[in-house]
Symmetry: C2
Subunit: 341 residues, 2 copies
């Protein structure tokens, strides 16, 4: 039994007494207790790959920020890693793939791994966390969208333009589809295993959605997200968050996802009209949390009013920025909890 099931009910489109709230990247990043733990470790990957520690930082924000859901602490790049393309996390620079995908032979060498075999550390973290939470709040699992994973696997690192990855869609669409199909198969098995390990909702993150022209987005991203939704929707509610993909709302509306995440450039009322019946999640500008407590309160209430008229899960429009004062996050959370329209 989940004691606080507001998030779960909103994610199913059921009516709730008040709007539930959580933050993307709440697990870690801003909390001093996270930084203390992180400082004792060799690196980011040690934290991701050690289930007891990943579980500990997953629960920290539930204790510290009083949010209505926990999201497992992990990284979207564990999937390419498990497929045979390892990443490193370079301090202050971000992810780096020493090898990248260039040819059909590179794609052939990738495996579609058994999740228990190659991603057991995430599944174990979910099991430990589920037990430790003891039903306090629901537990969210997640994965990167196939396009976003391809973007890193081809580009090799973060990029303003992801021009190599986007270029591949023009120069070798067949190779791109072969890679996307393999990522999709891996992701479906991985998310199904996350559900078996205790995830009650799963979210698909398409961080680089906004880099694609709409026609490419449909061909190389949303169709694979749709396959993931089809496979997971019978098990748990699925959330799709595609940053910058304002042009794809109607695609998401037609998928069996239950919740659509909005970034801070999107208009909640317009998305409601385009996606009737869906729960919407978002979308306060993370920069709004740099304000005074009063400014944070005002911005949060203005955001909540924009989502009136349908099911809503309050969140930021992107992950919380690392230099955010946790006290302001608490103001955000408490404002949502106290809001009565």
């Amino acid at each position: 039994m989940t004691k606080n099931d507001l998030f779960l009910r909103a994610a199913r489109g059921e009516s709730v007494e008040r709007t539930p709230v959580w933050l993307m990247r709440q697990a870690g990043r801003i909390l001093p207790e996270y930084r203390a733990l992180r400082g004792q470790l060799s690196g980011f990957k040690e934290l991701v790959e050690t289930p007891a520690l990943a579980s500990e930082v997953t629960i920290q924000p539930v204790d510290a920020l009083d949010v209505d859901a926990a999201i497992i602490f992990s990284d979207i790049l564990v999937v390419p890693d498990a497929m045979g393309l390892p990443y490193e996390m370079v301090e202050a620079r971000g992810p780096l793939f020493p090898n990248v995908i260039k040819t059909a032979a590179d794609v052939d060498r990738l495996s579609i791994p058994d999740p228990e075999d190659k991603l057991g550390y995430v599944l174990e973290a979910l099991r430990i966390t589920k037990k430790a939470l003891n039903g306090r709040v629901p537990l969210i699992g997640f994965a990167g969208a196939p396009w976003t994973l391809l973007a890193y696997m081809v580009e090799g690192h973060g990029s303003k333009t992801f021009s190599k990855a986007r270029g591949l869609l023009y120069t070798d669409p067949k190779l791109a589809h072969a890679l996307l199909a393999k990522i999709t198969a891996t992701t479906i098995a991985y998310l199904q295993a996350q559900v078996a390990a205790g995830a009650q909702v799963v979210q698909v993150f398409d961080s680089w959605a906004g880099t694609l022209p709409p026609a490419h987005y449909r061909e190389f991203s949303s169709r694979y997200i749709s396959e993931i939704c089809e496979a997971l929707a019978p098990l748990v509610p699925v959330t799709v968050f595609a940053k910058g993909a304002w042009f794809a709302v109607e695609d998401f509306a037609a998928m069996p996802c239950r919740t659509i995440g909005l970034d801070w450039t999107e208009d909640p009322a317009a998305v409601r009209r385009a996606a009737p019946g869906k729960t919407l999640q978002g979308n306060l500008d993370p920069c709004a949390l740099y304000g005074t407590p009063e400014q944070v309160r005002d911005a949060t209430e203005a955001m909540l009013r924009q989502f009136a008229g349908g099911p809503h899960i309050a969140n930021l429009g992107h992950g919380v920025y690392p230099d955010t004062n946790p006290e302001r996050v608490k103001v955000f959370v408490q404002t949502v909890k106290g809001f009565r329209g």
Copy 2:
């Protein structure tokens, strides 16, 4: 007399025999003759600040790529520099401001310079170029939008999020407006001087438009762009290119700009409906130029068909990427020139 005035006529909304074509960032970046010249200099700023050299690289793409317009070689950051906030261009990293704007006193210290005094090198480059072009093609002047300049002046360098600059809009909107007003006044005088020096069209670049929530965009960006349009429209046709500002098309439609630039995520037909009577410019994905000649031709023709039904200036949806093969750019240009619907 401008011999090839197709661009100018399309920019005025007049009918043309065929679609004119040019590229953002065509002046420099991809051409071997540009790199040869650039390699002999101490740095990027020497090229920008030496009128004869800036003029030379402005004309190179007219010779090499056969485009229908020349855009003066310069940088949007010359404006903060002229106001008293100097920038450096760090090799392989991009612009850096050793000092940034933090307080009202910082804004007070900035001047609204006489363009001939502080930006005379750009004006001189325009005069030399106009004479050297001798009417072959029209000459485009440009400036950064006030919001985009503020973003650099507050952040101090390029950024994925521009979170410091965006944060200022929440924490000290008054300071932001004081800075934006000063940038706007400088920009208007600067663009008027560009016209006096020979610019026949001016383009305003809002490179970081897409980082703002729509309400902030209206308050902190589009109203200042509108002021610039009001001041310049009586002199020359004005083009607004706001990357990522799909949500602001109706704002631009209401301004006295003549042309709206589209990035590659925007749907030309939808923008035509929202901005009737405007000329549209764009919007091929720069990554399409990584393809084979045949792929470039197909992508270009598909793009041209999307703009049917109103005045169009063919361009990319952003600046040409530095690793683009100039031969592919020629295919793009020649495909536009040969297209007959």
